[in-house]
Symmetry: C2
Subunit: 100 residues, 2 copies
């Protein structure tokens, strides 16, 4: 019983931490650019968004750490991409609810 409740709390915290990772304007912008299975490097994202390289890397690190993105190093570049394509539904859903 206690275990079940603890498990629920753990699940809630995992879900919250993933949502929190996504809940930032620049990180939403990143997710939008990665929709459809696209893969982008840190530099590409940093230039697309017009924010600092280190800030970009930090945001990407948060998204990766919380299970939203994956990364793969290829030579000097690191490509980032969505871990679950279904997550872009969240962006679309929130977007539709905030645009009326």
């Amino acid at each position: 019983m206690l275990e079940i409740k603890e498990l629920d709390i753990d699940k809630l915290e995992m879900a919250a931490s993933m949502l929190k990772a996504m809940a930032h304007p620049m990180r939403i912008a990143i997710l939008k650019h990665l929709e459809g299975g696209k893969r982008l490097t840190v530099t590409e994202i940093h230039e697309l968004l017009g924010i600092e390289q280190s800030t970009t890397s930090h945001h990407l690190g948060i998204l990766k750490d919380k299970g939203v993105l994956c990364s793969k190093r290829e030579g000097k570049n690191t490509f980032y991409y969505l871990k679950y394509e279904v997550l872009s539904q969240i962006v679309e859903c929130v977007h539709s609810c905030t645009c009326e």
Copy 2:
């Protein structure tokens, strides 16, 4: 051109603020209890979750302020409910991605 970009930033910030409102373990728990069009009072939620009344009210205020919930006062009670039923998809989606 600048206007369009500004508009995008505004939209991103609105989406982020709605997601941020949802990105908290207790607030996700609240949303789960409100799935399916259910309406609950502050006291009911505070007892369901086992957290302080003032904390509960604070969380509900955040969700309402950011457009996730609506509220309707009826006598001494205030009932809270989902503003957009579709938002419970977000909870389900994140939940499915964090449970594997």
